[in-house]
Symmetry: C2
Subunit: 145 residues, 2 copies
DNA sequence: TTACTTGCAAATCGTTTGCGATATA
DNA sequence: TATATCGCAAACGATTTGCAAGTAA
């Protein structure tokens, strides 16, 4: 892996974030410093960096991939309203795998635990505006049956 | 929601499966009984049925959506080699949410726990052939650093 | 008869890839 | 100098959508 200007800056910007951006979010950020960079280059570098174990592609739900400058595995929360993903400071729970192995004929190798909820910003807006965000829609739906 | 022939048969076939098919897998199955059905109709019906709470779109990792004829929420395992998804008979663990809530400023509403591993079929083939499936590649990678 | 649903094809979205040009080691 | 990496645009796979025709209630 050679060091290119694009790759270095991409990595710097990813590491400066506590959020877990999508390729496109990162593209918009990096573009401020490298106006001529292409989205393809962003994707290619994210691929190379995560294959090399320098960054991590987080296995989040949703249609877009998300990337993490931190490689140690840890759990995440996803906001049901805005899609934002953050870290959850909960230690890994290896006992979950044993629990699963007991009830399945799969060879269990690990797990993905993703919490869902509402981020502070959305919670505030949601209360203020009675919006029809996924969260409120879910409540409505539960009410009807 | 009106009852159409396509929708009824789609639901029948989904409920007959213990696996959690993708839209395209279901399309191929339903096509045996309705040769003229279109993939668009399959997608539209899966959407309508899961919005109505009749079926469930499972929030699985991967590029394709997967659907479940059972609406009660439960945990899943995903085979890292073939992508197959099955149920895991582990009861819901609500205490996980409390654990997460304690360490985060999100309003935690739930979680998704997906186990990863190898299905019995793949485990067998993998041992027999020293294949370079994701599982073995992962081991190689760990070895190198 | 009304409006939900269909089949078809085109459009969209996120991501990957082929190419000839550029830049790093 | 050799080749990894780039920017661009086209290709791709999964999903969604517009439309005119068909069908359930």
């Amino acid at each position: 892996m050679r060091e290119s200007r694009q790759r270095r800056i991409l990595l710097e910007e990813l590491r400066a974030l506590t959020s877990h951006p999508t390729a496109n979010e990162l593209y918009e950020i990096v573009r401020k410093r490298l106006p001529r960079i292409s989205l393809g280059t962003v994707y290619r570098n994210l691929q190379v960096l995560s294959a090399a174990g320098v960054i991590q592609e987080i296995d989040a739900t949703g249609t877009q991939k998300r990337f993490d400058g931190v490689t140690e595995s840890h759990y995440h929360v996803r906001c049901l309203r805005c899609g934002r993903v953050d870290d959850i400071p909960v230690d890994a729970i290896p006992s979950l795998d044993r629990l699963a192995a007991r009830g399945s004929n799969y060879h269990i190798m690990g797990h993905r635990l993703e919490f869902t909820g509402m981020c502070p910003d959305c919670a505030r807006e949601c209360e203020a505006t009675e919006c029809l965000c996924p969260v409120n829609r879910r409540n409505l739906h539960a009410g009807r049956s």
